[in-house]
């Protein structure tokens, strides 16, 4: 599973494909305070990013991949 859903935390691993987006959306709809852990994520499909942006999901760990982080950080930083 490229996304592992813990109690209140979604752990993104490696490459997260478009197929995951629907599940992610459903999961996030019931957990408004959930956080995303992107530390080992290499790439996530646009559909997933869109879900995270719409849900304004906080990020607990940014990707180790600096280039991906540079993309995601401005898009997923929400003033709390």
């Amino acid at each position: 599973m490229p996304i592992e859903f813990k109690k209140n935390r979604a752990i993104f691993r490696d490459e997260v494909t478009a197929e995951e987006a629907e599940g992610l959306l459903e999961w996030l709809q019931t957990r408004p305070t959930a956080k995303a852990d992107l530390s080992t994520c290499i790439h996530l499909h646009t559909a997933n990013l869109q879900v995270l942006m719409t849900a304004r999901t906080g990020v607990s760990n940014w990707p180790k991949n600096a280039e991906l982080r540079a993309w995601l950080e401005p898009a997923l930083k929400f003033e709390e």
Binding site: E15, T17, A18, A21, E22, L25, L28, Q29, I42, H43, L44, H45, T46, A47, L49, Q50, V51, M53, T54, A55, N65, A66, E67, L68, A70, W71, E73, P74, A75
Partner: protein, 921 residues
């Protein structure tokens, strides 16, 4: 070529043919839902397949076609001739691309514009539905899922508002600026993926990340994001801004799949020069600014740079001032196209330091003298320009507080690593304060004290100075808790790295998307395996099989000779009988095998007929004629080579019929005929020949006109005008030389003569005959052998040699007494079956010095042959049997022997020369 691509091409051709056929059918039955469905499926399959390969041009056109057909199918658009024209044009274009792919395995990028044009043409025919609605119609998506899709199309029009370069961190911009001065181009890409892009397997984020030469990028919602509960995961609502150093061609190539979704703007490097920062910092001293301008005016760039560096060293990195200075240094460092930057540019930058607004580069031309004048005035007169002014009470309190805070800083007695920075900072604060209050004389004092403090490591002088000012101030109350900013830092670059600072593009991340398509493709292959029983084989393989069977037939024929030798030479009658027995079995199998291979090579004439509806439609529409095309006997089969070589002659004939045979509706009505002309193309199998008839009910051919033309061209003489029948006259149009300019306007169009048709037909051993009745119509009959592989020849003997004469030319064989031969003008002739037939000796025609041998009854063997309209009696020595041979063309220098059309191997291994009757008579 990889096998998948090969299969794609071959399937595409089939599908294109299908599409063309369906479109033609739809013309007659525009409401036939079955045909519309089939059409949609064909286009859809084609599009899907093309998506497997990197042929975006093809996919784009097909996609538009598919959408259009989808709407026709859904009843949202109606079928029209215009629509058919467009679709046919699109399919022709796709066919063209297929050809290009076949020869080069790629599509030239130059086709992109054409593809877009065609796709737009198709889309124009669609009623004004927004794309998501189209998608909903085409894919049958549920409308509810698309409710948020109604706020359509975010224009990628940033040009009017200026590109948002300010959102790119300064360090990135500066690096790019330096890079572009080394020759790299700069481009801004606004990428707005279409909503349905996820369905196409696109991952816009991945595309954006992989953009060549990317230096910076960001992702933005391209429209307000909906509430989470209403989000459609499969509708892309994000867009991208990308800043890249790649060349335009490289970007165009990278985004060639989706040129309509990206907007690429060439970036002038100067657009990057945007000073940014905190304007609330201490204002720059007017004198400093004037100083910079003066140095610039004097052209002392080294000094200017030094001055700027000193200033930068003393100011906080986040300030507007620092940012401007960094850019100033950067511009001073880098030459523009090998030339130093124009001073007017630098002046604008320096002025922006003071104004706190980004320089307006559009007005940066050197001719802009007013700006230059103002700057000069400032540079010359700065000393008097800003006299000291009294401070307000609030300002005075603030001033004192600041001075007190600085004093406390100086009194700190620890010596941290940043001690030097601390002292510099205090000095800068003091300088700025005195600049603000207009006390310019104090500046030099501070500068001197700073130099002293830095060299001695002792800040006493600075402290004394500060104390003096503090005591000079009226209210010298200090507040210990007051903090001031101590964050001076010389190294600005660490701090300015912000958002997405992206280095070289990372390793390719395999795109997951194609997986869907592959699965789809696999499924489709299975489908076709399940219901298709045909096999596609390269023609070369069949040809080889054909050659092998030919050799087998020949070597098989050697067995009877062997049997005879066994009996006559070795006297083993038993063995001879067994050989004969075996021979008959092998013979039967070989015959069947030959027949089977012939069957493989057989093709239905529909292969060429199927293109006629389109041809007839196009030409008749162009000529403004109404034509009903009737195709008959499409299932009639003949050898592939025959069928293929028939295509061109037939097209010529049909063109002629349409152009010159059939009349316009008005003329037809006037002549008492129905307005719609009728063109019948019919294929019939007659024994071992295929007859193709092209019959029109047009105006027919006037034999008198033909005779006159032929006479004018010297094809026939005066006597012949009277002698030849109308039928013969009409067939004169096949004569070479009649297809000249005047005749072109009369009989044949486009400079293609009927003689070309005749020679093409004769090349494959066919004959062509024309019948016409003036005012009633014309019929052209082409008779062709079923197969070119086996030729029936009659073996004849002459001067103890054997020759073969193709049976096509043999009319009859007979023996005539020498007495019935008469000489007319030294030419021997005989009256055969009531006709006068010229006689010629085969020996003399072939240059053999021997006279024809008569048999014991003094009768000569005459082979009556016909070549075209010429009938001739060939005097030979004797006749033998008729055999089927596989004729091989003569090769090498033998191919110059026009008297022989080829050679064939006899069963006993001897070579039989086949006479080319047409050449020798």
């Amino acid at each position: 070529m990889n096998p998948l691509l090969e299969q794609f091409l071959s399937e595409s051709r089939d599908l294109l043919e299908n599409t063309g056929k369906n479109l033609m059918q739809l013309e007659d039955a525009p409401d036939d839902q079955g045909i519309i469905n089939e059409l949609f499926r064909s286009v859809h399959t084609l599009k899907g397949n093309s998506g497997l390969f990197a042929f975006p041009e093809m996919t784009r056109v097909l996609h538009a076609g598919e959408d259009l057909m989808g709407m026709v199918r859904g009843g949202h658009a109606t079928y029209s001739r215009e629509l058919a024209d467009r679709l046919l044009e699109a399919m022709d274009f796709v066919g063209l691309l297929c050809g290009e792919i076949e020869s080069t395995e790629r599509i030239d990028a130059s086709r992109s514009a054409e593809a877009q044009h065609i796709a737009e043409g198709l889309r124009r025919l669609m009623p004004n539905l927004i794309p998501s609605e189209i998608a909903a119609k085409v894919f049958g998506l549920n409308d509810a899922s698309l409710t948020i899709a109604n706020a359509l199309v975010l224009p990628i029009d940033y040009l009017s508002s200026g590109l948002p370069f300010a959102s790119i961190p300064e360090a990135v911009r500066m690096a790019a600026f330096r890079q572009c001065q080394r020759g790299d181009s700069l481009h801004w890409v606004a990428y707005k993926p279409e909503r349905e892009c996820f369905f196409h397997g696109d991952d816009p984020l991945n595309s954006a990340r992989q953009t060549p030469g990317l230096v910076w990028g960001r992702v933005l919602p391209s429209e307000p994001l909906p509430p989470l509960s209403e989000l459609d995961t499969y509708s892309c609502a994000l867009g991208f801004h990308l800043f890249t150093t790649a060349a335009h061609e490289e970007l165009a190539e990278y985004y060639r799949h989706i040129p309509d979704q990206v907007e690429i703007t060439v970036v002038d490097p100067l657009w990057l020069v945007i000073p940014q920062g905190d304007l609330d910092g201490p204002a720059i001293e007017f004198g400093v600014l004037a100083d910079l301008l003066r140095l610039l005016k004097e052209g002392d760039r080294t000094a200017l740079k030094q001055r700027a560096q000193t200033l930068l060293g003393g100011s906080t990195a986040e300030l507007w001032l620092s940012s401007s200075l960094r850019w100033l240094i950067c511009l001073l460092d880098i030459d523009r196209n090998g030339m130093p930057h124009d001073s007017s540019l630098l002046r604008l930058l320096i002025q922006s330091i003071a104004s706190g607004t980004p320089p307006d580069w559009t007005g940066s031309s050197p001719a802009d003298s007013s700006a230059a004048e103002i700057a000069d005035v400032i540079a010359d007169g700065y000393m008097d320009a800003n006299p000291p002014r009294p401070l307000s009470e609030d300002d005075q309190i603030a001033l004192d507080q600041i001075l007190a805070a600085q004093r406390q800083v100086l009194l700190l007695d620890d010596r941290p690593a940043w001690h030097v920075g601390r002292i510099k900072s205090v000095a800068m604060v003091l300088t700025n304060i005195f600049q603000a209050v207009g006390d310019t004389s104090a500046r030099s004092d501070v500068q001197a004290a700073l130099t002293d403090a830095l060299s001695t490591g002792n800040n006493t002088l600075l402290l004394t100075l500060l104390d003096a000012w503090l005591s000079a101030s009226k209210d010298s109350q200090s507040e210990p808790g007051l903090r001031c900013r101590l964050d001076a830092n010389d190294d600005a670059s660490d701090r300015t790295v912000g958002s997405a600072n992206i280095g070289p593009a990372p390793e390719n991340i395999p795109d997951k998307a194609p997986a869907d398509e592959v699965v789809k493709f696999g499924r489709r292959v299975e489908d076709s395996l399940a219901n298709s029983r045909s096999l596609k084989v390269d023609q070369a393989k069949i040809d080889r099989l054909m050659n092998l069977i030919g050799e087998l037939v020949v070597s098989k024929n050697a067995l009877p000779y062997l049997a005879e030798r066994a009996e006559s030479q070795f006297g083993v009658r038993e063995l001879s009988r067994e050989i004969k027995g075996q021979y008959s079995i092998i013979n039967r199998i070989a015959d069947e095998m030959q027949d089977a291979i012939m069957q493989v090579r057989m093709m239905a004439v529909s292969f060429i007929f199927q293109r006629f509806p389109r041809l007839v439609r196009d030409i008749s529409r162009k000529l403004g004629k109404e034509v009903q095309l009737v195709l008959e006997g499409e299932q009639t089969e003949a050898d592939k080579n025959i069928i293929e070589s028939l295509a061109d002659p037939l097209i010529h004939i049909i063109r002629n019929s349409l152009d010159h045979g059939l009349e316009t509706p008005e003329v037809r009505l006037a002549a008492g005929k129905p307005a719609t002309g009728k063109l019948i193309i019919r294929a019939i199998q007659q024994a071992d020949r295929v007859v193709i008839e092209i019959i029109d009910d047009g105006k027919g051919i006037d034999p008198v006109a033909i005779k006159r033309k032929a006479y004018e061209k010297g094809i026939i003489d005066e006597a012949a005008i009277e002698r030849i029948s109308d039928q013969e006259a009409i067939n004169l149009i096949f004569a070479a030389g009649l297809s000249t300019a005047e005749v072109v306007s009369d009989l044949s169009g486009r400079g293609v003569g009927m003689d070309v048709v005749r020679s093409a037909v004769e090349k494959i051993n066919g004959t062509v005959l024309l019948e016409s009745e003036l005012g009633k119509g014309t019929a052209i009959r082409i008779s062709l052998p079923l197969s070119m592989a086996v030729t029936q020849v009659m073996v004849i003997e002459s001067d103890r040699q054997l020759f073969g004469v193709p049976m096509d030319h043999v009319v009859e064989t007979m023996r005539i007494p020498r007495s019935v031969i008469h000489s007319i003008k030294q030419s021997p002739t005989a009256v055969l079956r009531g006709r006068i037939v010229p006689l010629k000796s085969l020996n003399s025609l072939l240059g053999i010095a021997a006279i024809p041998q008569a048999n014991s009854d003094d009768e000569l063997a005459v082979l009556l042959v016909q070549a075209g309209t010429i009938e001739l009696g060939l005097l030979v020595d004797g006749f033998q049997e008729t055999i089927g041979v596989i004729q091989k063309p003569l090769s090498g220098f033998l191919s110059n022997l026009s008297a022989f059309s080829g050679s064939a191997l006899m069963g006993d291994g001897s070579v039989l020369m086949i006479i080319n009757i047409r050449e020798i008579v």
